[in-house]
Every structure is written in C-alpha cells, then in structure tokens.
C-alpha cells in the first residue's frame, strides 16, 4: 500500500486540524455577521428607549432591556457572595474528607443540571411554594442557583492562583486564617473573581429557559416597581417575537437579537481582555 512519508502526513494532518479549527470558529463569525447585517438598521435611540407598539410589531424594546437588567443584577448580587464564600471554604478551609468530596460532586452536578430543569425547580419552589409568583425575585433566585457552580469554580481558580507562600508568610506573623484571607488572599484574587463574575453576568443575561416560567412576561405595559413584579426580558422577548407573533418585521427581530448579542458579547469581551491584562500586570 502507498505510504506517506512522516513529513508529508504531518503537513496533511496539520492542515486538517487547522480546517477543523476554522470550522469551529467561523460559524460564530457568520452568526454574528448575519445578526449585525440584518439588525443594525433597527437600532436607533428610539428602539432602545421606547415601549413596544402594535402587538410588538413596532416601537422599541426598552422594558425588555430594563427587565433583563433587573433580573440579572438581582441574581448576581445573590450568587456572587455565596459563591465566593463557598469557594473560600473549599479552597482555604476544607480538609480532604468525605464532606468535601460530596460538596465537590454536588457542584459538578449543579453545573450539569439542564437550564429548563432549573426553570421547573424555580417554578415549584419560588413561584408556588414560597408564593413569590412569577416575579423578578423568583427568576433571580432561580438564575442565581444555576450560576452558583460557575461562580464557585472561577472563584476557586482565582483563589488558588494566589501563591501558597503568601498565606504562610502572613500566618507565620500570628495573623489569623480569616484575616489572612481577608487582607492577603482576597485582594489578590479579586481580579480573577470579578472577571469571572462579569462572564457570569453575560451568561445569565442570555438565559431563557430558567426565567420562562419564573419571571418573564409576554408584555408588561409599565416598568417594574418592586422585585415581586413580572417583567419582560430580552431573551424571552426574542423568543416570543421570533416564534409566536406572525408577520413580525424581520429587522425588529434581528435588532432585538443584536442588542442581546452585543450585551452578552461585550461583557464577555471586557472580562476576557481584563483577565489577560491582570495576568500580565500581576505583581508576583
């Protein structure tokens, strides 16, 4: 049989791998391009700041943007402190015992639970059992539990990046463990924790399934006044106008998708760039 020389086969396979990488990356570029091309014309100041009109077929998406911001900010302010504390426990206090292993297993599995199952859970416990109704708080609680494993994992990464020797130096001076964490470990892990938090905000801004039955409303004619209000949400709005409303003008759908995409991507990009920057300027 004809056999390729090692040199040549290396070249061929490198080319194949390169093409595979292109195939992974380019669809993303194409999706972004399609959305920008078709949606850019819809983006006006008016579109971003006015209420929908004519059964969503006209007007803007202001309440959906506000609703998403409310849910997301609420969710991250619940999940960030809890997640960081859990990461501190795992990274700084936990001994290698059964409890720790169970906690780690629980985190892995929380991360794997489908988002729609979180939606079911949120509906059952927050909307019905705790009687919050379909509301910002119910949606935010649901999202915060969903995002908890991600926050814990990134925060742990940031904490374990702080050299062990700093902790030793601090504690050898008689400083307690918590004081060491508070004044040495946390400040140095903060950039990593914050970039992780921004990535999480980006991710939950785009989540639809968990808020489907817990927070999002088809149409609300006024701005939310309390955390017990239903709100419109950007991803849910996009779902509604692209599947449920006949004769929807294309550019409004694409415009909505563009706003959502830009919100998510710009936050992610900021986080990624910030992370690279912090890595380069790190003091140790």
């Amino acid at each position: 049989m004809f056999k390729l020389s090692p040199k040549l086969s290396q070249k061929i396979f490198y080319a194949l791998l390169f093409m595979a990488t292109l195939l992974v990356i380019t669809p993303a570029a194409i999706i972004i391009y399609i959305i920008i091309k078709n949606g850019a014309s819809a983006i006006t100041w008016e579109f971003l700041t006015s209420m929908p009109k004519d059964g969503m077929r006209g007007g803007g998406i202001f309440p959906a943007i506000v609703g998403t911001l409310c849910i997301v900010l609420c969710a991250i302010s619940l999940t960030l402190p809890i997640g960081v504390c859990a990461a501190i426990y795992l990274n700084e206090y936990a001994k290698d015992n059964l409890l720790t292993r169970i906690i780690k297993l629980a985190i892995v599995n929380l991360a794997g639970v489908p988002s729609v199952v979180y939606g079911l859970f949120g509906l059952g416990i927050f909307v019905m059992f705790m009687n919050f109704g379909v509301s910002i708080i119910a949606g935010a609680l649901t999202l915060s539990i969903m995002e908890l494993p991600v926050i814990i994992t990134t925060a742990r990464g940031a904490l374990s990046g702080v050299p062990h020797s700093f902790r030793e130096a601090s504690m050898s001076l008689g400083v307690s463990r918590w004081q060491t964490i508070r004044h040495i470990v946390l400040p140095n892990a903060l950039p990593g924790i914050l970039t992780g938090a921004i990535l999480s905000i980006a991710r939950i801004s785009g989540e639809t399934a968990p808020i489907l039955f817990t927070a999002a409303a088809f149409y609300v004619p006024h701005m939310p006044t309390s955390i017990y209000d239903q709100v419109m949400a950007l991803p849910y709005h996009l779902y509604i106008i692209s599947t449920q409303i006949p004769n929807m003008p294309k550019n409004i759908i694409f415009g909505t998708a563009l706003v959502l995409l830009m919100m998510v991507l710009s936050m992610s990009l900021i986080a990624i760039v910030a992370r690279i920057y912090f890595r380069k300027t790190r003091k140790w």
Binding site: P6, I31, P81, A86, F121, S205, G206
Partner: protein, 290 residues
Amino acid sequence: MKRKIIDFIIEKIIFLCGVLSIVFVVLIFCFLLKEGVSFFKDYDVFKFVFGKLWYPSSEPAQFGILALIVGSIYVTAGACLIAVPLGVAAALYISEIAPAGVRDVLKSCVELMAAVPSVVIGFVGMATLVPFVRELFDIPTGLTAFSGSIMLAFMAMPTIVTISEDAIRSVPWSYKEGALALGATRWQTIRRIVLKAAMPGIIAAIMLGIGRVIGETMAVMMITGNAAHIPSSIFEPVRTMTATIAAEMGETVRGGMHYKSLFAIGLVLFVITFSVNFIADLILGKKKRK
C-alpha cells in the same frame, strides 16, 4: 475580643455557603421527585418511559415519553457526530500546533462562542439554516432533527474544545520529549503519545459536551419542529424532552396531571445529566489523582 467573635461568625457563614451546594442539589432532586412520584401514583412508570404516545391533553391523556427520549437521542447523537471530531481536532490544533499568540486569540474566540445565548442561536438557525435545509434536501420542512443537531453541535463545541484543550496541555512535556528525541515527527508524537495520554480528559470533555446538548432547550425548541412522534430519519421533525417542558409548562393547570408529568420528565433529565456528569467527574478525578 470583638475581632475574634467576628472572625468566628464569618468562618461559620463561609462553611454554610460551602455546604449550600449540597442543599441545592438535594432540594432540586427532592422537588422533582415529589412531583414525579405523585405523578407515578396515577400513571404507570413503565407506560411513561416506554409509551409511544404523548397526548397530554386528550381524553384519556397519554403520557408516553419514548418519542421524546428518541428525539433527544437523535439530536444529541447528531450533534456529537459533528461536534466531537471537530472539537477535539480544534483542541489539538489550539494546544499543540498554533503559535502562542494565535492560541490566545483562538481560546478567547471559543470562550466568546460559549457566551452566545441559546435563544440567539435558535433564532439564527430558524432564519437561515432551516430554509436552507428545506431547499437543499427538498423536504416539506427544514425544522428537523438534522438542523437541530447542527446548531447544537455548535453549542457543544466550546465545552469540548476548552476541556479537551486543558487535558491535552496537561500532558507532561517529558512524554513528548521522549518521543521527539527518538526521531518521531511532531505529528506522530501528538497522535501516538499526546492523544493517548490525554484520552481520559478528552472523554470527560465529550461527556460534558453531551450533557450540555441533552439539557439544551431554547435552540432545540425553535429548530427541531416539535413533533412528538418517533422519527424514521433525521430529516423529520422531532421533539426533545427539554423542549416539551419549556413549550407546554405555560399551558398546564398547576397541580394537574399534565403539570406533574412535566416534572417527571424533569426528573428523567436530572437523572440522565447527573449520571453523565458523575461519570465524567470520575474520569477527570481519576486522572488527577494519578
């Protein structure tokens, strides 16, 4: 003294937060179980899992999820066929071949991909891929398992690439050095040594990718056509378990049979993803302990 007490309280709070994840997993499971069990009191488990008919609102109602399970399997298998080879190949390229500068850019791109919301992917798929598939294969509708697989493959790839890339990069340099010193080319080294050593990590990556695809909801609901029947080919509409929950929860009577049946589907999904993640974690954990 006051400082001591504050320290003590804070450390207790930290511990509680650490344990909270267990509480949540147990809570989610119990909640699904509670509704699921009360459903199975009135509806046979066997009929539920292996029943072919899903007519939740007819008289008498039929709650057979076999078609939904098959739908999920079709879409997941299709997505894996596309995402696994491409994802692993891209991970190899990024970690072993690409120059350092290019590598950082590519990794950032993959991370950005992971951030694209599933509803956006679903919408773009609906607007572009679905009509394209319909015309290309000359079929009555482009809302098929095939279209769903393509879009889902796209969503599984960031997971597969990132975790495989980690696994490949953590192969000790000495392994490669040994092979290279014996005169093997870089590609031979990658194929025979690196790939083999990184295999457990790559398998775990694939499983986590599968977990992500099974659980994916919005894009699937928008692209696969949502017909609850057992398809004869991938060019027919299918309906997945996740899409069923998302699409029907809004129209159920709270506390009714239909409502409970959706929680039962949730329970099935939870058990599947729990097992997938558990096994993936075992594989990853074993590798780390070595």
